[in-house]
Subunit: 448 residues, 4 copies
């Protein structure tokens, strides 16, 4: 909550944001986390899980709205619908949302709707906004973003190949998508689909378009749902969806043919800030559970509480340190995005994208280990959190792709830096002469 | 298979074992791994999963027996029922069994039955053997070992507190057990239960007894099954079981009252060799899947196959190295156990217990990462393997408990080593005098 | 320089500080780094190294003063002698100073003088200030802080046992000190010495006092100098010094008898910020050298430049990320110290103290590895930098002591957190009832 | 000593080798380690260090010969001069030799002489053997192997470019060499030099030749010695040597023109076994020092001995485990080399080459950390050991080059493995049909 904001950023947090942050924190801890249990129970078992819309969620949404918590993710200044928070301010709220499974949806800030609403708000025309953005903003429907495909290496988006062929005033879509997160939810009414509309364009970044496809369109089949380390993540889920001659009005095209890359790039920046801040919240919750466990008076192996054993306090200290460092990295990226825009913040966002999930996985795994068997089971939130966050090392490109790109960018300094060092060395030689002194090279007097 | 046995141990492998190993390898690769898919399909969905006994398993068992593959785990020399393999020889076979979900059970070498059969063979009386060991050896029933309890720190087995009270010629059991692996299987007919029969015994290692409890006994409730990450591991499963006034004939006691610790300690050594060798097999399979993926001609991010990208070949090399090193550690432990018994091999077994799961988790996680989304889903065996093996860092005591114990043992050398170094330093001083030379201490001529 | 200040802190940097930072950066890169070579050459060889005062250093000091760079470390607001920078502002300058061996001394901001000047400025009386602070502020003499002792575990300062016995209006000192950094310099005129003046005081934090001892006092012997991975660090050096009946006027006592702990605690905060920021500068320089090497057109193993090989760009990316994260951690600590004082910033300072040296060592070691043989030799600054920074994981207490303390502090939340989770769980049970829904426990319908 | 031989290899150790191993162990612990101090004292200071031949070394050599310890490295069966030990057997002895600085030379098993003697014994003609092998075998002279060059990426030996031009019955050599280890020793009389004799040969592996160059030949200058971190490693040292029109008789050519690669490849296998086993010995010694320290009754931070603090025992346990695993890896490689030759053992040797130095560095660094300041100084052998072993991650090719090669080799299985998995998947489909069962795909019944 507001009292825990790192001092570095505190002066950038408005009073309104600080107050809202406190309300978010209280709402998450007192309402949402307890509701998680009910939500899971209401989702039920078997195929019913994909038809469920747990009632408690609607009750939470109502409460959230009454508390003034709604759509906080929409950044200040860019959208008239925005409640007026910066990415930094919302980032701090997102951390709290990340502690609970239902919290983000309860305040209408859940992925992938947030990114999808940004796409519609930024790139959609008025008709598209009226039809899809309005109900999304109202939390009446949900949405999915269909990009990744099973048969190609989608980490390089140029490989995406779902066919989009113009036929009169329609496009006809054929192909497969997977990791279509949110597609399991019965309220998911709209798919934002990336496909290849111009496969022969010489510029590989102009071959793709984005189009809006109502989820009930003929020819669409939810082939199956993907599991994540055994979890189905229902009702949300991760869909594997096939398109067979799916006809969509050409007016559903977003921004224009060949502008797919433009759209997906604009979409990623804020989403990565949200994701990473939620992930930090998850790590904080894991640390809290770990603290609970190691101080549990009933668990005393070898006559001592866990906190008194060997490495445990060092794990706590490292977890604290690593979370705190990771948070500063994300907040720095958020400020850069707020003040200079997402393009200028590319490096900082990429750093957060790579650092935070690895940090959180380490912290959560320590918590699992300190719980013993309970840690891997349904009795703590830890195993599920670990599985969800493990996917973040892959989603939107695996760590290694980002690291290569970051390495290439940093390496651009190579030539300039080499020149600087060469100049320093030349100057050193000059100075040696000026001071009439020679390097005393080790062993230079050896005469064998 | 036999051609890949590390040269260090090859001369200890009999011709018969080498031949059997080749048969095991072929059976696993050609029959069991394909059968895993059918097994999972036959297990079905929902509550039916806990009633299933997939037909394919019985067919595999029949084939296995016809190939002479049955009960290979029972070590040579100790049991007349043994097919005559050493722990080393069986260890090499277990590696192959670990590549498939059904293979161990298909050759009647599945945990926890193996350890339970050893308990019965070593400590059971004739009646107990006839009733329970015989059908277990025949693969007609299955068994569970009930030790860990939810409400105490079971990593210190002295904390185990299920009440066992003598009442005439019966014991009455009250309490809770969890992580009762295998209890979900409808064919699981016998529980080997550890409980506290003499809570006031001054020797905390004499308070516990082990008793045989038929799974259908009145008062036993399978409260629920525990998940491992999101997997239920059905029909096997991990049970949370409650005992309410469960009456068991006193003749079901194993070995005698107060001898529980003796029994569990004898049980662990070979089991750890089996587990770790199976785990190495799993790591090998993960590496194979990774190799498949990085050479997949259809997956070419940024114009190159994955094997040509950045760190991938280094991951392959490290995985190869780490698996090979871990295998040598286990085989060394197996030889020590074969030649000097499990007590002498405590250090070596503990090293394998700690090293192997961590190694395998690292290898599997690299494979997951190289697969992208498919890696965490049901489309590869990787996510499930990772989850199963993650529990091995906790089962039979968390790594940290073992490391503390290992550290204490190694530290016993402290005094002797300190004396040796002191003697060396004294001798050095003597020698300096003898050679009339003084240490040239840095800066010893400083006179400011 | 000022263009690279992390955006998070930029608005806290005054124009004057930004301008000074640019001057510092230019001075370091263009004057100090080339001068490092001359400095080392002027130090010479053998015993002469401890008598050297390289002329180039005085020339640099003159230039520094002419540029307005002098004593920037003295924090704004606390001392009238301060040039008016916050710890944050000076921290950014210290990063640049850390790239060169001579730079800190050239601007009179070198340890241990900085900490010693703070002690004198804060705790010294007027006479002490006139005699010692004045010439230190003028860069005319140097100083050492004598705390650690060879025969005890000094990481727990209560163990320090150099005897300080009052004898009339003098104290008589007997004992040994080591790691007395700077004591090798012939210009080191004053030792600030911690000793035990009241060994029987019940409060172990009141047994120690701090006294000023002129380095030439009778009875003091520089026994020898300690090496750091083979480096002597001359003329500065790390002294092992013995005190034999050293008589010092009682008026040299700082603050008063028994107040040693108070003094050393006040001394550490800012010093840790300085040290860690300099260390970040060293890491930046190592990364620059690495970039030079991997782009060297003459070094092409296997037909490709190093930057095109396997893991190299990932090393670059990780180094960039880790340095950037570590810097944010230090700057956050600096701001906290500036705004709330060193006590409030204890956690943040400890985090920087532990994180930064490990980060820098990792970065430098990658650079060493990319250089091959040159990396470990005198041909790059890398090996020496690594050795110097390795000591920071030990100096002022080993990492492990800090981590234990940090773990204990974080663990203070244990009780509160456990209560919160218990309340959440109770509320969840309530809600389940309210919504008339039950948890669907896995396997709870098993009836075997 | 022989009682500690891993059980896995014990049956391959002859009685003679076991006895010799015990003698080696005793000689190292009781004679050589104390002599290390005297050796360092006798080497002296300044330029004298490169002229020194410490007397104690000759005394040790005499004692070693009287104990029957001489040239044990020369493998059994290959050389008539061999004392008859396998690489495995000598490897176990090399572990002990690695604990002391002087021990290897005392028994005439020091690098680079061992590899050089192998070159001469295997590839030299009778005249070359008489002139150089004989005195080397007698320990009368020493030798250096000049391969690496400062101006190229020598990790790819094809880049080596020292010019060797035939001129009548001589070769004329021009160029630079560095990391010429041992060249600092006044007794180093012979250089084995690799150069480019046929730069235009189409086969880049035929351009190089190896020639014997007496160290006093006209035109050779020891330009300087390279330091390793701050150590000079005198009198042995690491030379940077220039060749200016150095004329050598053509009869000094080894094996024939263009056969340089053949020679260096034959030279590396056994040397890597020796190096890695010595490194394991160093790690063992570091662990012993650590055990001494953590049990030191005088070092009690916060009222407890170090062994009772936090992570220390876990460090001990991990060190024990990691050393033991690394040793098994080397011994497995040694056996493979003994039984199937160095080519067959390439994989195993490369694994040892990469694994062992990293393991030892980790163990030594833990020991340094547990010592505090003493660990980085001249007061323990640790800092020096660390620096020496750090070079092994670079010598004979950096780790990364080996890992890439190992990855490529392992990846050769890619196609075969992919085919196997494809066959398994096809068989699974068949079996599903045969058993009339279908996969129950998650969410496949979703109909939204």
């Amino acid at each position: 909550m507001s009292a825990q904001i790192p001092i570095t950023v505190r002066d950038r947090i408005s009073d309104k944001a600080a107050k809202t942050l406190d309300i978010v924190a209280k709402f998450v801890e007192e309402d949402c986390i307890p509701a998680d249990t009910v939500f899971e129970a209401q989702v039920g078992v078997g195929d019913a899980r994909w038809k469920a819309h747990p009632k408690i969620l609607e009750d939470l949404k109502q409460k959230a709205r009454s508390l003034g918590l709604w759509n906080m993710f929409l950044p200040k200044g860019h959208y008239k619908e925005s409640p007026g928070f910066t990415n930094l301010e919302y980032g701090l709220m997102a951390e709290w949302l990340g502690k609970s499974r239902v919290a983000s949806e309860a305040v209408n800030c859940a992925a992938p709707d947030t990114g999808n609403m940004e796409v519609l708000a930024r790139y959609g025309n008025d008709a598209q906004k009226a039809e899809w953005l309005r109900p999304l903003m109202d939390g009446v429907i949900r949405s999915a973003f269909l990009m990744t495909e099973p048969q190609v290496a989608s980490s390089d988006a140029r490989n995406i190949e779902l066919k989009m062929v113009r036929d009169g005033d329609h496009y006809v879509l054929n192909g497969s998508k997977w990791w279509s997160s949110g597609a399991g939810d019965p309220r998911c009414k709209i798919y934002i689909v990336m496909g290849k509309s111009d496969p022969n364009n010489k510029d590989p970044y102009k071959q793709q378009s984005v189009i809006l496809v109502p989820s009930g369109t003929k020819g669409i089949t939810i082939h199956r749902m993907l599991s994540v380390y055994g979890y189905d993540d229902a009702p949300h889920g991760h869909g594997h969806i096939t398109f067979h001659n799916v006809r969509v009005p050409a007016s559903n095209l977003v921004l224009g043919e060949g502008r797919g890359f433009e759209i997906i790039q604009g979409r990623l920046g804020p989403g990565r800030i949200h994701h990473t801040m939620r992930t930090i919240g998850a790590a904080e919750r894991a640390l809290e559970w770990m603290l609970m466990r190691i101080n549990d008076p009933k668990k005393t192996p070898f006559g001592k509480q866990l906190r008194e054993h060997g490495v445990i306090l060092e794990w706590v200290a490292k977890s604290r340190l690593e979370i705190d460092a990771a948070r500063l990295v994300v907040l720095n990226a958020a400020i850069k995005m707020d003040e200079q825009g997402p393009k200028a913040a590319l490096k900082e966002i990429a750093q957060a994208k790579v650092l935070v999930p690895q940090t959180a996985l380490t912290v959560i795994d320590r918590a699992v280990q300190s719980f013993g068997g309970a840690g891997v089971s349904q009795d703590t939130p830890l195993a599920n959190m670990w599985a969800q966050i493990r996917t973040l090392r892959l989603a939107d490109g695996p760590d290694e792709v980002h690291l290569q790109q970051m390495g290439r960018n940093e390496n651009r300094r190579g030539k300039e830096v080499a020149a600087k060092i060469a100049a320093q060395q030349a100057k050193a030689e000059e100075l040696l002469k000026k001071y009439s002194v020679t390097r005393s090279e080790l062993g230079s007097n050896i005469k064998h």
